[in-house]
């Protein structure tokens, strides 16, 4: 064996290089190209409509722009402005308040509705349709309708109804304390139907033998719900909860259309503030708006992660 031979044979790096060089061809032969072409439309759609805007948002959060000329780099100034703004605590508090109210009132409503409906023997379809109906109403129409209900005059729909039992008249949306609960009420009405359908679908998956067995054992309705229905709904409940929290943290439509954040900032939420920063100031607050929405996105991402960590052990049933 000559030195040259030894050199030639003991050259694993070169060999590896040659193998690496063949990799794309192997990849193509194994159908990689076809997979890529098949995935391309989806990648493009996501890329153009989801990922690219995210990248742009990150870039814009460190820029200042007049929306016409090329933007200028300002570093973290937008974030600092947001943190220094006295409105920040207000909008965070309002958003949390909306989320809490929606959780306390809005979260159990569809569950109770679905469980009750699954217990029905007849006309189940009719009740499902009734429950789902509000979801079909376009959100803007629903809000306008409820705005009409919330008419603060004594002749207003809700005030007339409540007046019949000696209550009111209430100012509803024109009252700082009442405005947010009024928004939550409409939001719950509008969204509950969709969740009811999800729960009903999950309930179909509960084997009826379990109920039969429970009945043989003499279980009450309450015990059946608690020991048979609920365990089967657990996975779905976890998902709807996180969806609800993410959804309520980004609430925009109701405060925007009902009150535009008023009265006196009582219903100004994070997303509405983002919108106002971006679009209702003729100054240069576009960067601050993107900075704020990035902060919200980061917060929600972290929260979702923590949530899934915490609940992983429970939901694997």
């Amino acid at each position: 064996m000559t030195t040259a031979d030894a050199v030639r044979t003991d050259r694993p790096p070169a060999l590896a290089r040659r193998e690496r060089a063949r990799t794309p061809a192997t990849w193509v032969r194994r159908g990689g190209l076809s997979s890529l072409v098949l995935a391309l439309p989806l990648l493009l759609v996501f890329g153009i409509f989801s990922w690219w805007p995210i990248v742009q948002a990150v870039v814009m959060s460190v820029q200042e722009t007049n929306l016409i000329d090329p933007p200028t780099f300002v570093g973290l100034e937008n974030f600092l402005t947001i943190f220094a703004d006295p409105l920040l605590p207000t909008v965070v508090r309002n958003t949390a308040w909306f989320a809490l109210l929606a959780l306390v009132f809005g979260y159990p409503v569809p569950l109770v509705g679905a469980v009750l409906m699954s217990e029905l023997r007849r006309r189940k379809g009719l009740y499902s349709v009734l429950a789902y109906l509000p979801v079909v109403v376009p959100p803007v129409v629903a809000v306008l309708l409820w705005k009409f209900f919330y008419d603060p005059r004594p002749e207003g729909v809700f005030n007339t109804i409540l007046g019949a039992v000696g209550l009111g008249p209430y100012s509803w949306l024109n009252d700082q304390a009442m405005a947010m609960p009024a928004l939550v009420l409409e939001a719950t009405w509008a969204a509950a139907g969709g969740t009811v359908i999800i729960y009903l679908a999950a309930l179909i998956g509960v084997p009826s033998e379990l109920y039969d067995a429970a009945e043989v054992d003499g279980a009450s309705v309450w015990r059946k719900v608690w020991h048979v229905t609920m365990p089967h709904l657990r996975g779905v409940l976890f998902i709807t909860l996180i969806l609800q929290v993410i959804g309520t943290a980004q609430v925009f439509l109701e405060p925007f259309l009902f009150t535009n954040g008023g009265p006196n900032h009582a219903t100004l939420t994070v997303m509405l503030w983002v919108y106002q920063l971006a679009f209702t100031s003729i100054g240069n607050s576009f960067g601050e708006a993107t900075a704020l929405s990035l902060l919200l996105a980061a917060f929600l991402a972290v929260m979702s992660l923590v949530y899934f960590r915490l609940t992983r052990s429970w939901s694997q049933s």
């Binding site: 391309l40 493009l44 759609v45 016409i68 006295p86 949306l173 535009n260 008023g262 679009f279």
Partner: protein
């Protein structure tokens, strides 16, 4: 197997290409068919009725006949801070658009308006503008970026004459002090159940009307010492006007219980007979006719805003500007349109008559002769009114409370620096007073003032 895979690949490939193709943009080079210059211009309020649209269409047709090389397309337009910025960001503003008088300086500083100095100066009346008004559209470089157009107004008190009569009040003797307004409002509410008074409270319009109230009581929301702008939202006159609103709402119950009324909403409520008095620009009657179906025999009354001390009427108005992206040809065409639609009717008898005739002959008729302040000079304004005297169809005899004093009353210009930010800080305080009997006005104003000063300092 083989063929289906090929098909799938082909379909996927085509989809991707189609997607990419649809993302590329075209158009917008400014030339229309046959080498014509194409411009889009701000037209009417989105709520305008058919008669107003027909009148505009007639004026467009006449313009295109006069300028065969220009193709004009109108777009519904209402100046709102929100839609304006959205259109600015999306690059979808019409070539000719309207802005509030006071936003001119900010937009020029931000570099958001096109330089139309040469074109405006070349107009036959280019040097005749009321200098104080034109200053709002002139940059620090002395160039013109926007011109006063449409209407320059003072804030005035609008009232429903029928409700006055129903409450036993003489509609020819409208209130002249804020105390009287309060008294009348209560009397109307007690007699008819309808709210006697209402104020805009939504968005910057709420702050704008609070400022107007404060100005009428001798206060200002911003001072300038020659070098530095200072926010004075905590001026006693601001608090005084808020206290007045508070008393209407919580002591008399005569204030319309709504914190969500903007510029258009309050017009709608007024036209529907749900409130008796409110303040807005002296020219709002045009919009009441155009968008809310108010007619000359509706019972509309207009009078000057009550003033006390050295208070005056807040003035404002609209300027026409051109988008920065416009080509030179478009800028030329745009200024020609500004001349045609907004200004020539004040300068040229034929134009004045043509405009007034199409407005008056529309079905239903559009307002002709609504009192506004002069863009050029008082003489010019009176001359132009004389030209169209035959077509004036607004109930001028019901507006004498305003027209008798419009040239003599004290006028207060809007704040110069960051005015929209000042309004944005003020409207939540108006909402607070209407929605909370125990609102701490002084504390709220102190906080608002701090934020306003930050906005001024930028």
């Amino acid at each position: 197997m083989r063929s289906s895979r090929t098909t799938a690949l082909a379909v996927a490939g085509v989809l991707s290409i189609g997607l990419l193709a649809s993302c590329s943009s075209d158009d917008a080079d400014g030339t229309g068919e046959g080498g014509k210059v194409k411009i889009t211009v701000a037209g009417l309020l989105p709520t305008a009725d058919d008669a107003a649209k027909e009148q505009l269409a007639e004026r467009v047709a006449a313009f295109e006949e006069e300028h065969p090389d220009i193709d004009v397309e109108t777009e519904d337009y209402e100046w709102k801070a929100s839609t304006f910025t959205t259109q600015l960001a999306g690059g979808t503003l019409p070539n000719v658009f309207e802005i509030p008088l006071t936003d001119g300086k900010t937009l020029i500083e931000n570099g958001q308006l096109a330089d139309i100095d040469a074109q405006v100066r070349a107009l036959p009346y280019g040097d005749d503008f009321n200098e104080a008004l034109l200053a709002n559209g002139t940059g620090d470089d002395g160039k013109v970026y926007a011109v006063p157009a449409k209407s320059i107004y003072a804030v005035a008190l609008h009232y429903n004459r029928n409700l006055f009569e129903q409450a036993g009040l003489d509609p020819d003797q409208p209130p002249t002090t804020w105390d009287e307004v309060r008294e009348y409002a209560k009397q109307i509410h007690d007699a008819t159940g309808v709210a006697g008074y209402a104020t805009m409270a939504l968005d910057n319009a709420g702050g704008w009307q609070l400022a107007a109230g404060a100005n009428s009581r001798g206060g200002v929301i911003e001072t300038f010492d020659g070098e530095q702008y200072t926010a004075t939202l905590d001026d006693p006159a601001v608090a005084e006007h808020l206290q007045w609103l508070h008393d209407l709402k919580w002591e008399d119950g005569s204030l319309l219980d709504r914190t969500d009324l903007g510029w258009g909403d309050i017009n709608t409520e007024f036209a529907a007979g749900n409130l008796a008095m409110y303040t807005s620009g002296s020219d709002v009657y045009n919009s009441l006719v155009e968008a809310n179906g108010v007619t000359a025999d509706w019972g509309y009354g207009l009078t000057a805003i009550p003033t006390s001390g050295d208070g005056g009427a807040l003035t404002g108005g609209t300027m026409a500007a051109v988008t920065k992206q416009s080509t030179d040809e478009q800028k030329d065409a745009a200024v020609k349109w500004i001349d045609w639609w907004y200004l020539s009717k004040l300068q040229d008898q034929d134009q004045a008559v043509a405009d007034a005739r199409t407005r008056a002959e529309a079905d239903p008729a559009q307002a002709v002769g609504t009192p506004v302040l002069p863009i050029f000079s008082k003489e010019n304004y009176e001359q132009s009114l004389e030209w169209v005297a035959d077509y004036v169809n607004v109930p001028l005899e019901d507006m004498t409370g305003y027209t008798d004093v419009m040239f003599d009353q004290e006028l207060v210009p809007e704040a110069s620096a960051a005015v929209q930010d000042l309004y944005a800080q003020l409207f939540p305080v108006v909402q607070a007073v209407i929605s909370d009997e125990d609102a701490d006005v002084d504390a709220l104003l102190a906080t608002a003032n701090e934020a306003a000063q930050q906005a001024i300092d930028g």
